[in-house]
């Protein structure tokens, strides 16, 4: 280990240190001071975020060729840490209401974030696997965190069994690629791949196929999505919010790293297979979401649908020279998806009391009693549907544009994507409709939020920290929607550098 190895690992070490410190401090805190744990976790996340931004980047792999700390790693780390920070802010009051405000909660969230960071930074398939497991194992525990609640127990069991199964498939894929090329280093695999295709095509294709299946499971892409709605509904909502973001972003970070080992010879088959996955995912996610009345389930299918849009970028990203706009679009989409999904789940979190599972009926007229919360939810819904002037519009626009530029198959994918988005407008705006157009009987009270209305209608548990979290997400969604060019410019440079770094 050299000094620069430690330098590159600093953000991850800060996250690890915070996780362990939170776990230990929990033992010495009295019940009423548990709120400090959230603050402390947040402090660690902010420290890691700043360290990540201001550290120098390195062109070549570090730590025995395991980790890359380049501009792409920096950006992915920033997305993961942003997601983690917002999830902690939204969770602080919710976990207290549900009686699960323990140190383990924040420790596991931080460790899961660490796993996502390792996946995004990996330069070696082994590191990718370790990152995947570091991301997933804490999530299994978090999903079942409401220990006495049957729904949460079931969510944990389903997530664990299918997650471990997909990890085993992923690992077998790594073993086959190792057998074909004699190395697990990503650039070594890339160099050996053309030769190995001639010598043992079965190993290469089987290996890449199993990698794809493993990641598709984590990203909840159809037909490997069956766990997602049940797990999202059963898990505590603050966990669902984090899981929807961290597991998906981690899987797509891994897709980006694996994309680099797709040679031109394989690109066509890759585009075809991933493209069909994208089509199936968009179609099923959006169509089934239409009939959902439970808010968490609706958002679960929405997040499946969004995996489909992201897969379009993955499908066209493997086609050699055109990978830069697709990668940049994928990165932009990941950032925007993180913000709007956390925001939407965040509103569900603040609206949900102990032991409740909100349906659309439950949020009826909520916007008249809590105008700011309602406005924020409307903004997130419009953004998820992909309408301007929000970030969701530009995220879809950039991905579809990259697809259209990639040739006729890309055009087909973009058309399916647009049609799917049109369908999605219906169920997203229905949520807004329930929020606004049907005032609850008690809605004659003055519009400003206060104690009087809280007694009249369903209360919203908006703690200061959760309000800040929602506010940050909403402002960023608006900002990226009004002024996306600077971010995209930056991401194109990152994508160009990352794709150029691999020989």
């Amino acid at each position: 280990m050299e000094a620069r190895d430690f330098l590159a690992l600093t953000p991850m070490l800060i996250v690890t240190g915070t996780a362990l410190f939170v776990l230990m401090l929990d033992l010495f805190l009295r019940e009423e001071r548990r709120g400090w744990l959230a603050g402390l976790s947040l402090l660690g996340v902010v420290a890691a975020f700043l360290a990540n931004l201001y550290l120098p980047t390195f062109g070549e792999p570090l730590v025995q060729g395991m980790i890359r700390f380049d501009a792409l790693t920096q950006f992915l780390n920033a997305v993961f840490l942003l997601g983690c920070g917002l999830a902690v802010m939204l969770a602080a009051d919710y976990t207290r209401r549900q009686g699960i405000a323990r140190g383990e909660y924040y420790c596991l969230v931080l460790l899961s974030t660490l796993g996502a960071m390792l996946m995004g930074a990996s330069a070696d398939l082994l590191m990718l696997f370790l990152g995947l497991e570091t991301l997933s194992i804490p999530l299994y525990v978090l999903a079942t965190f409401l220990r006495k609640n049957p729904a949460s127990q079931e969510a944990g069991l389903k997530y664990f069994l299918l997650g471990a199964f997909s990890s085993a498939l992923f690992l077998y894929g790594i073993a086959l690629l190792y057998g074909a090329t004699g190395t697990t280093k990503l650039d070594g695999v890339l160099q050996g791949l053309s030769g190995a295709m001639g010598a043992a095509p079965g190993l290469v294709l089987g290996g890449l196929g199993l990698l794809l299946v493993g990641l598709a499971f984590k990203a909840a892409a159809v037909p490997f999505h069956s766990w997602a709605p049940d797990v999202y509904e059963g898990a505590p909502t603050s966990v669902t919010a984090f899981m929807a973001v961290a597991a998906k972003a981690g899987a797509f970070a891994a897709f980006l790293r694996v994309l680099a080992i797709s040679t031109p010879a394989l690109a066509e088959g890759w585009a075809l297979v991933v493209g069909w996955l994208a089509i199936a995912t968009m179609a099923l996610g959006n169509v089934v979401a239409v009939v959902q009345l439970n808010l968490k389930r609706l958002l679960a299918y929405s997040s499946i649908a969004h995996a489909g849009y992201l897969l379009i970028a993955v499908a066209v990203g493997g086609t050699g020279a055109l990978s830069e706009p697709a990668s940049a679009g994928l990165l932009f989409y990941l950032l925007v998806y993180t913000l709007m999904t956390l925001g939407a789940f965040g509103v569900v979190i603040v609206a949900e009391g102990r032991g409740e599972n909100l349906s659309l009926e439950d949020v009826k007229g909520l916007a008249w009693r809590y105008p700011w919360v309602g406005l924020a939810m409307a903004l997130f819904m419009v953004s998820l549907a992909g309408l301007p002037p929000t970030a969701g519009f530009f995220a879809k626009f950039y991905v579809f544009r990259a697809a259209v530029e990639a040739g006729s198959w890309g055009v087909v994918l973009a058309i399916v994507g647009v049609v799917a988005s049109v369908v999605s407008v219906f169920y997203y705006l229905r949520v807004v409709y329930y929020l606004y157009l049907r005032p609850a009987p008690a809605a004659e009270a003055p519009a400003a939020g206060g104690q009087a209305e809280a007694e009249a209608g369903r209360p919203v548990y908006l703690s200061r920290l959760a309000a800040w979290g929602l506010g940050i997400a909403a402002v960023l969604v608006l900002f990226l929607g009004v002024y996306p060019t600077a971010a995209l410019q930056w991401l194109t440079e990152i994508a160009a550098a990352a794709m150029g770094a691999v020989p």
């Binding site: 497991e133 299994y140 069991l157 086959l176 190792y178 057998g179 190395t183 059963g234």
Partner: protein
């Protein structure tokens, strides 16, 4: 006399398939879990066989990492299964069907 590498790979593939089939067919959460462990160990065998073929120790080192990960999974998985058994008194995944739709 040495056994050809291919035999180990075939054995590994067979074990992996048995594990995968077990996950898809069996309904007892514990058996499912054991099938997943079988899959992981089949992968370990493949790694060792390939390491031998390439004359590269990295493949053998990977096995240790996989063992550690599998151990961590066992800890979490058994805890989840025991916890669910305490309330439902069954680990049959067909009877654990609260969430659907």
């Amino acid at each position: 006399m040495s056994v050809p590498i291919l035999n180990y790979l075939v054995l590994s593939a067979v074990l992996f398939s048995i594990g995968a089939l077990g996950v898809l067919i069996r309904r007892n959460a514990l058996i499912l879990f054991m099938s997943i462990e079988l899959m992981l160990n089949a992968v370990n065998l493949a790694f060792i066989a390939f390491a031998r073929q390439w004359g590269d120790v990295a493949g053998q080192v990977i096995v240790f990492f996989v063992l550690v990960v599998a151990a961590a999974e066992v800890v979490v998985g058994l805890a989840i299964i025991v916890n669910i058994f305490r309330t439902k008194e069954t680990v049959d995944i067909d009877e654990i069907d609260l969430l659907r739709g």
